[in-house]
Symmetry: C2
């Protein structure tokens, strides 16, 4: 019998943050692709478009006029999925027809006044400003909400409907499914092992190096052992940190730097503005602020869909939706590819 080789032999890997498994079938990369091709992202976005509701000076859907902002700019989502005052659906439901109240608030934050720039092309000081605003948001909304989800959908392939660089924050009075799972898994691990899961994990990955993409004094980016998306990464502080506002000034500068390096590599991979959804997971807030949440470790997830080129994505469909997530290259192969890429942005190099 041949020796086990993760690149040749399918196997399952365990995701300890989601208590589930991913099927790794790296030999699938050999299959030809005759399916749908993504449209590569537009390359000639105007720097300023007066009809784009995210630009400085534009009129938004609710009639408000944006200020002539020159850093970040935040406003309430004009079509929020969560509103502060929805009435309660009432209790006493049959177990098969259960509902409960959902209340919250949705905001949008522009990263920069220009529409034709993205985070990897911004200056470190500009990225640092975004990080500071993220931390402020957790303080501001965390008081009244159990969960404050900061996320960025980047690129039309990830359902982003506006090319202007921006993220969203949806804060809710409840703990959503994913953080509830991460809460349970991290709590169990801490109880069993006496150390926060992701603190131990970062240390072990830093030592092994095999899945590390970029690192610096304060931060580490890895393709996690259990990654689902082809080039998924996990951004982790080396120190035990519960929430974004706990980061020191130095750690924030260092975060700006590592984000720029990671996102530059992402863009360089297929020489295209790399689409992804990303978001922050820190310890829950609201009433959890008063509890011991030391089993949590702050982290960010990056979920990019592209698989083989700027136009060939991974589809999480049939088998993945109905049975089990499956990936077509090993996390180690993905990490190696990303690690070997240059840290100068292909657009900057070329000019």
């Amino acid at each position: 019998k041949p020796m086990f080789d993760p690149k040749e032999h399918q196997h399952l890997r365990y995701n300890p943050l989601r208590d589930s498994w991913v099927l790794v079938s790296a030999h699938r990369m050999k299959r030809p692709w005759k399916g749908q091709l993504e449209k590569p992202p537009e390359d000639n976005i105007p720097r300023h478009d007066p009809n784009n509701p995210l630009c400085p000076g534009s009129v938004r859907a609710n009639g408000e006029v944006n200020p002539d902002y020159d850093g970040t700019f935040m406003f309430e989502n004009d079509f929020p999925a969560l509103q502060p005052d929805a009435p309660d659906p009432g209790s006493d439901h049959h177990p098969l027809f259960q509902s409960k109240a959902a209340r919250g608030i949705c905001k949008v934050m522009c990263f920069h006044p220009w529409s034709d720039i993205t985070l990897p092309l911004m200056k470190p000081a500009e990225i640092r400003r975004v990080i500071d605003r993220w931390a402020d948001l957790i303080v501001e909304l965390g008081d009244a909400h159990a969960w404050v989800q900061i996320f960025e959908n980047k690129g039309a392939a990830m359902g982003c409907s506006n090319p202007h660089p921006h993220c969203q924050v949806w804060a809710s009075n409840f703990l959503p499914n994913e953080p509830a799972l991460a809460e349970r898994c991290q709590r169990d691990f801490m109880q069993k092992r006496g150390e926060p899961m992701l603190v131990q994990y970062a240390r072990m990955e830093a030592q092994a190096q095999e899945r590390v993409v970029v690192e610096n004094e304060h931060w580490l980016v890895v393709v996690p052992y259990w990654a689902t998306w082809p080039f998924q990464t996990l951004l982790l502080p080396r120190r035990h940190v519960l929430r974004l506002p706990d980061l020191t000034a130095q750690e924030r500068d260092s975060l700006a730097s590592i984000m720029k390096r990671l996102l530059t590599k992402y863009d360089n991979l297929f020489e295209v503005s790399f689409p992804y959804s990303m978001g922050w997971h820190g310890a829950p807030t609201g009433s959890y602020l008063k509890e011991d949440m030391s089993h949590w470790q702050l982290h960010a997830h990056y979920y990019p869909p592209l698989l083989r080129s700027a136009t060939i994505r991974k589809f999480m469909v049939g088998y993945e939706m109905l049975a089990n997530e499956q990936r077509d290259l090993t996390p180690e192969q993905a990490a190696e590819q990303l690690r070997n890429l240059r840290e100068e942005h292909y657009k900057v190099e070329k000019t």
Copy 2:
């Protein structure tokens, strides 16, 4: 305070098959869409293309020549994610780096010799033949595999790379994540309530009618109370049935008929060949065949991505990936729309 109205007020609904919640924010449908448009499916697929490896008489990737089949045709996937003989990754792993062996088999089944036909346009007797082959597959592969996942990815939007009507089956020596969850949820419900969850659910939905799309003597199709995808449906037998091979001849004919009606409505919704991923969940097989699995009820899930038109889909991205699934219309609204559609296929009407 206003009365609770599910169409106006966001709320959470509980999915008892997945033990998780979905955020229903129906007022979000009002938001304008300026994001990515899907390419509508091609409309002039040649009936026979000698270069298409799924057509009768074609040569496949491994050099084999397809027979000149005139009904269904099955062969082993030339790029299988699961192979029968992968070596074991070994045991004794650190809790953060756990892997285990995955073994199985992947097959492809063509529904019909023509590339320009789909299930809703096939004759009931032809659909019946597909159903019989599905049942045979469970018998054939169920012996040696704990889970036999039959699924169809339809349309380029759902990662399907070949327009020829076909489905796949991936059988594995392990219970994948999704069936493992369905197993746990159905078992718990049965223990607490003394009746299989989905048998009770079908009875209650048949009585309420509000979420029913189509029904006949043996089958019921509903937009489940906890649906995630805009026009997601759940196909359920009225009788308690564990697995596809247990269906009587009459139930199979009746299934062919209700599938044709459902899929015709799907195509009529936006007058386009409706993309979806679908698949069957029945009681696990392999060593489970000897156990009491009476908490299971056979069912099929349909997960279609389109939201508003042939070109505007729902993106399950940022918030959905990182926090919680969210939908933009109520399941009751979706069911009503589907229910009110004609049962003659728009392509047949027009000729």
